[in-house]
């Protein structure tokens, strides 16, 4: 009568870019990974991205996010990777078991290797009126727009001018919403210039050094109060939706439950499972990749997923040392390239700190 339990060589938690690439790389080494994802579709956040992606040819750059997701899912199918959708991993126990709630019921998996590619969650901040209908995370707005084809509002204010905020602002415009502005507390955007320019080009004002004070409304958002940080001037934007894009937080809970050492890096989103350059956590047999290992780009997540799988395959004896080293060298060089630009200096700093201990 106990919970059904299944042994397997490798479980990947999360079917986003990191998880799917980990599974693909594992398949190349002859390991059939089982990929678990709580969503109904594979591809993680890529699935709802309609913009073309940065990165290189190794990452499907130039294609739209959902196209990259579809290619990876197909690749997994060809490689015999099983992706179990609508399957939430409820817990990861010190003994190594994963507790899964899926269409088959609730059961345990006992993998020899676990790759945690659980992604990141949207950061939230409380302000007066934040519980009003119409206030939502930018990611949630994106799901409404691009998955369900529903406009979050007719006139929207975006809070946060990082890449997520700028991309979603653009997508709101694409779907026919008006964007009353993008509000950003800093002096400039943390996002890519091109994203900022695309939004500006459509006539959307970007308010730097401004912060959101409150959302007003009775049954839903009717207005947002915004203050200019330097002048203290408060203005009311009449909008019916408010999107928050104020950062992402690595989802490190499963790693913490498993007993992995947790590190902290503000530049990477906060708490995350400590890992070495090869994506091994402090617990043997547990690897981490993608935003769960520190919030970065999808292209980075893909290569991290591959790195994690190389480490796992090597540890499982499926990949000999020389082959693993060769693959790793290539992937690390690629990652170094992706993190090579001036916009990634904070990432390099945080990674150096993490690697130092």
């Amino acid at each position: 009568m106990a919970l059904p339990a299944y042994e397997c060589p490798m479980v990947v938690v999360g079917a986003g870019p990191a998880g799917l690439c980990a599974a693909l790389e594992a398949a190349e080494a002859g390991i059939r990974a089982l990929v678990m994802d709580e969503n109904e579709r594979g591809g993680g956040q890529l699935y709802k991205q309609i913009h073309r992606f940065f990165g290189s040819r190794h990452h499907g750059a130039g294609k739209r996010g959902f196209e990259i997701a579809a290619e990876m899912v197909e690749g997994c199918e060809r490689a015999g990777v099983e992706i179990r959708l609508s399957s939430a991993v409820l817990g990861c126990f010190p003994g190594g078991e994963l507790l899964v709630d899926g269409p088959e019921g609730v059961y345990l998996l006992r993998p020899q290797a676990t790759v945690l590619a659980t992604g990141a969650a949207e950061r939230c901040f409380p302000f007066a009126g934040w519980t009003l209908p119409g206030v939502m995370g930018a990611g949630a707005a994106q799901t409404l727009l691009n998955v369900h084809g529903v406009l979050p509002g007719k006139r929207v204010l975006m809070v946060g001018a990082g890449n997520v905020g700028l991309i979603v602002a653009y997508q709101l415009l694409q779907a026919g919403a008006e964007v009353a502005g993008v509000v950003e507390a800093e002096r400039g955007s943390r996002g890519y210039e091109v994203h900022l320019q695309r939004v500006r080009r459509e006539g959307v004002p970007v308010y730097f050094r401004h912060r959101l004070l409150a959302a007003e409304g009775d049954e839903g958002v009717e207005a947002a109060l915004v203050e200019s940080v330097d002048e203290g001037r408060v203005r009311r934007f009449r909008v019916d939706a408010l999107c928050l894009a104020v950062g992402l937080v690595p989802q490190a809970e499963l790693a913490a439950m498993r007993g992995c050492r947790i590190a902290y890096a503000d530049e990477l989103g906060g708490f995350l499972p400590w890992h070495d350059r090869e994506m091994r956590t402090s617990v043997p047999g547990v690897y981490v990749a993608g935003d769960a290992a520190g919030v970065e780009e999808a292209s980075v997540a893909m290569d991290e997923g591959r790195l994690a799988a190389v480490a796992a395959a090597e540890d499982l004896g499926a990949l000999d040392g020389a082959r693993a080293a060769a693959k790793r060298k290539e992937l690390l060089a690629r990652l170094e390239g992706l993190r090579g630009g001036p916009t990634a200096s904070h990432i390099r700093r945080a990674r150096a700190r993490l690697n130092a201990g």
């Binding site: 009568m1 106990a2 919970l3 817990g91 126990f93 010190p94 003994g95 078991e97 507790l99 609730v106 345990l108 439950m257």
Partner: protein
């Protein structure tokens, strides 16, 4: 060491026992310092249910003590500024076999003669208390004196009140050594400095063994894990505490009431259910000796959920939102360890409550206060002496 600290009494442990002892000592005007390695209610007191259960006590001194403690709760609820969510709701213990009914009946008789009100109920009579019970339920016993309390609020409330009366509470402060000279406690060395004190109360729960070692006394307290599932909040659906007879069986080691299933026996599984003031239903629990491991396990989560549906089928629809495990400080016979130790004057034990800490906290605090300040107690605590163990 920036300053030299001193206190008339030092209490080691900021759980419900330490907080209650501080409260009662402060009421008598004593100068008290509570040392807590982590934070208030960070041990078993913050990871348990709120059962103030009298019908699970052993007839005799154990029950007598529990009855005394129960009498103190209403006045505490009055006196403390924190709402401790005290609710004299009564408690139901359900039997799944005629053998269990027989045993419960015999116990009810013994408990009644010890001064407790207990009533045996047929399956039909259970309807008055519960909307629906499992088909295998053969009846149960109801104790109107059983009650419920929020153990965290109780601990925080007691500590806060003690603080108001002058107690000092040091959190994140670990005891490093207890200095004994001429057979008397003199100093407590801590990570926050040395504290001069001639009286030290050990209310350290599962850490008591370690504290005892500092004065070369073996305090036989072992951590026993109890796992609990927390469900989403619902409007009131449970009018009283509910438990299964096996809960008592595993608690008091009564052969007739032990679970028959091998896995359940291994986990020490016994059903408990309580709906808190906030509407969550707490479902328990297990009794496992696994050292200091306070993780929850998938086996126990599954077994608790399954067992809960066996007693109260309608819980199947509730969402579990959290699980937690507490480590009960268990003594070899399941009764608390209270009193002095031989050869070390000024050292007092208030530990080993074995899962009865919340229920027995008020009386323990009161008795310890009497013992520390007067050297004698209003209730004979000799049966709880450390020296009852061979």
């Amino acid at each position: 060491m920036s300053e030299i600290l001193s206190s008339e009494v030092v209490i080691v442990g900021g759980g419900v026992i330490g907080a209650a002892t501080a409260y009662f000592l402060c009421k008598e005007g004593a100068e008290v310092m509570v040392i807590e390695a982590d934070d208030l209610a960070s041990g078993a007191s913050g990871a348990c249910d709120g059962f103030v259960s009298l019908q699970t006590k052993m007839p005799g001194v154990h029950l007598a003590m529990a009855l005394e403690s129960a009498r103190l709760f209403p006045s505490l609820a009055e006196d403390l500024e924190v709402n401790i969510e005290y609710n004299p709701c009564g408690g139901l213990m359900l039997a799944t076999s005629q053998e269990q009914m027989k045993e419960l009946r015999a116990r009810a008789k013994a408990l009644k003669s010890g001064g407790l009100e207990v009533e045996m109920l047929s399956p039909a009579e259970l309807k008055e208390y519960l909307p629906e019970v499992g088909k295998g339920i053969k009846g149960g016993s109801f104790c109107p004196q059983d009650a419920q309390v929020n153990p965290i609020s109780l601990t925080l409330g007691l500590a806060q009140k003690a603080q108001e009366m002058g107690a000092t509470i040091l959190r994140g402060c670990q005891v490093e050594n207890i200095v004994v000279t001429n057979n008397r406690v003199r100093e407590v060395h801590t990570t926050a400095g040395n504290i001069h004190s001639r009286r030290v109360v050990c209310a350290a729960g599962i850490g008591s063994n370690q504290i005892g070692k500092m004065i070369i006394v073996d305090v036989p307290v072992l951590p026993q894990r109890g796992q609990i599932l927390v469900t989403e909040q619902r409007d009131p659906i449970l009018k009283c505490l509910v438990s299964g007879a096996e809960y008592l069986g595993t608690k008091a080691n009564i052969p007739e009431l032990l679970p028959t299933d091998e896995e359940a026996a291994k986990l020490g599984l016994g059903f408990t259910a309580e709906q808190t003031a906030s509407g969550n239903v707490l479902l328990g629990s297990t009794r496992e000796f696994v050292g200091f491991d306070s993780n929850t396990t998938p086996e126990a989560m599954n077994a608790i959920a399954r067992n809960a549906m066996r007693f109260l089928p309608w819980v199947e629809d509730l969402d579990v939102i959290r699980s937690f495990a507490g480590l009960r400080p268990c003594s070899p016979d399941g009764l608390p360890i209270l009193g002095t130790v031989k050869g070390v004057k000024g050292f007092y034990l208030a530990t080993g409550h074995s899962g009865d800490g919340v229920c027995l906290a008020p009386i323990t605090g009161k008795l310890l206060s009497e013992l520390v300040l007067d050297g004698e107690t209003s209730l004979d605590i000799e049966p709880f002496s450390l020296y009852r163990f061979k």
